[in-house]
């Protein structure tokens, strides 16, 4: 399972970087999204995958059964997703303003002077 996810993460990174290198602000944003998803999935994978064993102590026990899934990577990812969402919303607005102001989607057309 780890191998499959590792390949998926690699593909996400590759696609993200490819998109960022295109000459388009819109694709740049898509690239950033893919890159952050790749990072999130990477945390999930390196944290170790345990199927169907939630880290919840059964009634009467003082600790969850071992092995159980590590909850920390999931909470890290949750935080990262929330932050990523806010940052993405901001950059969408910023890039849209840029598109309106410069009248072009091509990063090379961004000129400071008229």
């Amino acid at each position: 399972m780890e191998t499959v996810l590792a390949i998926v993460v690699g593909c996400l990174y590759a696609a993200g970087i490819y998109m960022m290198l295109r000459r388009s602000l819109f694709k740049l944003i898509l690239g950033l999204v893919l890159l952050s998803h790749g990072a999130n999935l990477l945390i999930f994978t390196v944290g170790g995958l345990t199927r169907g064993r939630p880290p919840i102590a059964p009634p009467g026990a003082t600790q969850p059964p071992t092995p159980s899934a590590d909850p920390l990577p999931q909470s890290l990812i949750l935080t990262a997703i929330v932050i990523g969402f806010a940052v993405l919303a901001f950059s969408l607005v910023l890039f849209h303003r840029g598109y309106q102001t410069f009248g072009s989607d091509d990063p090379d057309d961004l000129k400071v002077s008229e």
């Binding site: 890290l76 940052v87 840029g98």
Partner: protein, 512 residues
Amino acid sequence: MMANVLLVLPLLIPLLTAATSFLAWRRTALHRALAVVGAAALLAAGIALLVYVWNHGTIATQAGAWPAPFGITLVADLFSALMVVLAGVVSLAVVIFSLGSMDRGREAYGYYPLVHGLLLGVCGAFLTGDLFNLYVWFEVMLMASFVLLALGGERAQLHGGIKYVTLNLVSSAVFLAAVGILYGLTGTLNMADLAERLNRIGPHSAVTAVGMLFLIAFGIKAAMFPLFFWLPASYHTPPGAASALFAGLLTKVGVYALIRVFTLLFVHEREFTHLLILVLSGLTMVTGVLGAVAQQEFRRVLSFHIISQIGYMTMGLGLAGLVDSPALAAVALAGSIFYIAHHIIVKTNLFLVSTVARRICGTFDLKLQGGLYQSQPLLAVLFLVPALSLAGIPPLSGFFAKLSLVQAGLNAEQYAIAATALAVGLLTLFSMTKIWAEAFWKPMPGTPTENAAASLLAPAQTRRLLIPIGALALLTVAIGLGAEFVFTLATGAAEQLLHRESYIQAVMGGTP
């Protein structure tokens, strides 16, 4: 108890200031008053923290009383306390300067609460003891800086903002991936706990690879060679006060993070990691200063100089890893810390001076500026103090900062880097002379009536703007004259950084 309060105050003050201002959204006058009070309180809290840490050694507190390494840890050693004080100094100067220079529109759209949002992120990054938490504070800081950079929506701002946002998001993604892999390798993210576990692992190629990811992530934030291109593309676009705040604080948070992780965590393959840092430092210095020579815009010249100065700050870190004796390593790191303290004050000041020059001449273009020495002799003196200090002329702060670094370079027998540092200092002086000759000495191009129309400032306003500039210039002179004291402080901070057991002990309690 005292330690807990002192550690939380530098976070609480900017948070409360920003939150209160956001609640009273329409009352700009209140924003202005709160911003000054908040910045002054932050400075006071920083000084109190520094004094406490100086007397009691490294202190730590656990949020919600969850014992380390499970909870969120706040730690202050001398280095982080010193950084908080510097953040307080810069914020107070910039906020006072903003009162007289920021336009109504930006003030109404939340400029002051955003400044405090930025300070919250900066102080959080200095005080946290947890790597993931550091990521979160970085994002807080970045979010505020994104908005501050784009606030106003001028063409140039959007242009710089898009580059700035993109590269910083890439850096965050790399940082996040590095944090994730490190967690996978060690099973913890608390920095003290990590230091212990990495000690047990010893030299390991995967750990070093993660260290390199951190070097890339923080290298982008700190604007190291070859990752600095976002900085000169964006720092000259926002209003002067905002760019002074950026110039003073943002890249230094990246340098702080680099020094923290490469003195605490990744210290087991120093002959590779720290040599790489040293080489990059040299290249950063040289490319930055050469870039500055080619520029003709006041703030772009200064922006390139930030890059070249970052090289000096990381140079001490690189040297500290390459010498065997702890005493020599402490001297090198102390040089770095001294340099950061000197640089933050001087660079903020130069950006503030450039803003006043822009107000008087109507442009940032050095070719079109002129006559400032004649019309504003006081401003000219206040430019010379930080400019000469930046170039390293005695008895100003920059001289002692450079002296200690070059000495550390000679001690470590790294003659190439010592020579580079000296040569770059000379080129810096050349750049500062260029600004002096263009903006201050040569007569103003254009007719007097045109020039009077271009000037956006009444003399009374100019005097108000000169107060924070004068205060920072005095501070630069004071650091130069009191170099002994500051160096003692920096050496203390460096020794704490190198004595990792004290940090681990402070966080983990009785089980080091």
